[in-house]
């Protein structure tokens, strides 16, 4: 399980030096607001696919990765999603359509050169809690949350086409795919097969948490039904 980063200057429990000396005032300012993205390598991803824990015929998002129980996320430790790292990029052969929260440039290239696609998307902590264990979330009977927009320090990342941000200009993202292919020396494969078409149609709205489900819906696993809000104000809220 991926541990949490300790505060800077942590001395195992005894009063840290920055607390005993009166000079350093805001040493760990904002520590409790810092977001963490536990990493997952392409090597692990390839292993999960090869051993049948992940199905590449459908797009893969954070919920799918957490359901494998190999990658674990603890939203209570301010872990906001998955950071796809490039370790194992040379042996990465799978064609996947991924939605992650952070991705390095080499990881994006490794995914795209095999004919896959990648989108980086922000989920606020309540959405992450729902995604980390969807079945447990549905059992609480809460309506699916309306996903929030990224905070100020993350907006730039998710609007950058080079990061394949979900808020970036789509035409610029298409250009960046060509540029990245030119950098790493491959031709951009066309995404016209049925699996890719399905992944493209299922691209999530900025307010959407789960594929195929809308914010405000209550999914009842016991009744095998979905309950949708009918009140005007609620409908307006969940569509805003």
């Amino acid at each position: 399980m991926f541990k949490i980063w300790s505060p800077l200057g942590w001395e195992g429990g005894s009063s840290p030096i920055f607390k005993t000396t009166p000079v350093e005032v805001s040493y760990n300012y904002g520590y409790h607001a810092q977001r963490q993205y536990p990493p997952m390598s392409l090597k692990t991803l390839q292993l999960l696919i090869d051993t049948g824990r992940l199905d590449t015929h459908h797009p893969i998002d954070l919920a799918t990765l957490c359901q494998t129980k190999v990658y674990r996320l603890d939203p209570n430790l301010r872990q906001f999603g998955v950071h796809l790292t490039a370790e194992g990029m040379d042996g990465f052969k799978a064609k996947v359509h991924l939605e992650v929260q952070w991705a390095s440039q080499e990881a994006i290239a490794a995914v795209e050169r095999n004919g896959g696609s990648l989108v980086t998307a922000y989920f606020d902590i309540f959405s992450v809690k729902a995604l980390a264990d969807p079945i447990a979330f549905f059992k609480t009977g809460q309506p699916i949350p309306r996903r929030l927009t990224p905070p100020a320090d993350a907006v730039g990342y998710y609007m950058n086409p080079a990061n394949r941000g979900y808020l970036a200009d789509p035409t610029k993202v298409a250009e960046e795919r060509v540029l990245l292919a030119q950098k790493f020396g491959y031709s951009v494969p066309p995404l016209d097969d049925p699996v890719s078409q399905e992944a493209q149609e299922l691209i999530k709205d900025p307010r959407q948490v789960f594929y195929g489900l809308q914010p405000g819906w209550i999914v009842s696993l016991a009744d095998k039904r979905i309950y949708k809000p009918l009140d005007e104000e609620l409908v307006k809220h969940y569509n805003s």
Binding site: D55, E106, F184, G185, P206, G212, Y227
Partner: protein, 194 residues
């Protein structure tokens, strides 16, 4: 009033058989959800989110100056070989990290005649007997990164033949400066390197 809809949770793939069979009914295809802040509505009206997956013709990204080298290299025109550091082809992508990129200069369709003449003038002596321009890289342990390094070398060689200096990389220069400062400070304090 309650509405009854089939569950279409494609995220719940722990038991793919159960949920997948419920979700693939063509008759009940759901309309995609679009909130008020969907990029097609709020950020980039007039374009679609699906446009990011469209294949772009690279020639549309190149400036129309046909004489100088734009930087675009069609990968089909190059012969790229991956070997291990001894030059053997093991067919294991992790072991074969050394990259050899070559192409026949005079028969290259993707370079203008002026560029070819420049390259011949500057790098003529470096060509192989058969007239191939060869670039190799074994800088890192990753074939992908070495390919990027090889292409960088190739582009810089072509631009150098046209008289252009490689673009400045301020981040790299800052990093080199920072390391030099640390080394200098270490010398002054005479602490052993940890």
């Amino acid at each position: 009033m309650l509405s009854t809809v089939r569950i279409a949770c494609k995220s719940l793939t722990r038991t793919p058989g159960i949920f997948h069979s419920l979700s693939t009914s063509a008759s009940r295809k759901m309309e995609p959800y679009k909130s008020a802040i969907h990029p097609d509505i709020y950020l980039y009206p007039g374009s679609s989110v699906q446009d990011q997956f469209k294949t772009i013709d690279p020639s549309t990204l190149i400036e129309t100056d046909a004489q100088s080298f734009s930087g675009y290299i069609p990968m089909e025109a190059l012969t790229v070989r991956y070997t291990d550091s001894q030059g053997r082809i093991t067919a294991d992508p992790i072991r074969d990290s050394r990259v050899d990129i070559r192409f026949h200069l005079q028969s290259a369709q993707w370079l203008s005649d002026e560029t070819k003449a420049n390259i011949q003038a500057k790098w003529g002596r470096e060509l192989t007997k058969d007239g191939f321009l060869v670039v190799k890289s074994d800088r890192t342990r990753s074939a992908m990164m070495n390919t990027a390094d090889g292409l960088r070398k190739l582009r810089e060689a072509i631009w150098a033949s046209e008289g252009q200096t490689p673009p400045a990389n301020p981040e790299l220069e800052l990093e080199i400066q920072r390391k030099k400062q640390i080394a200098l400070a270490r010398k002054k304090v005479k602490q052993p390197k940890v």
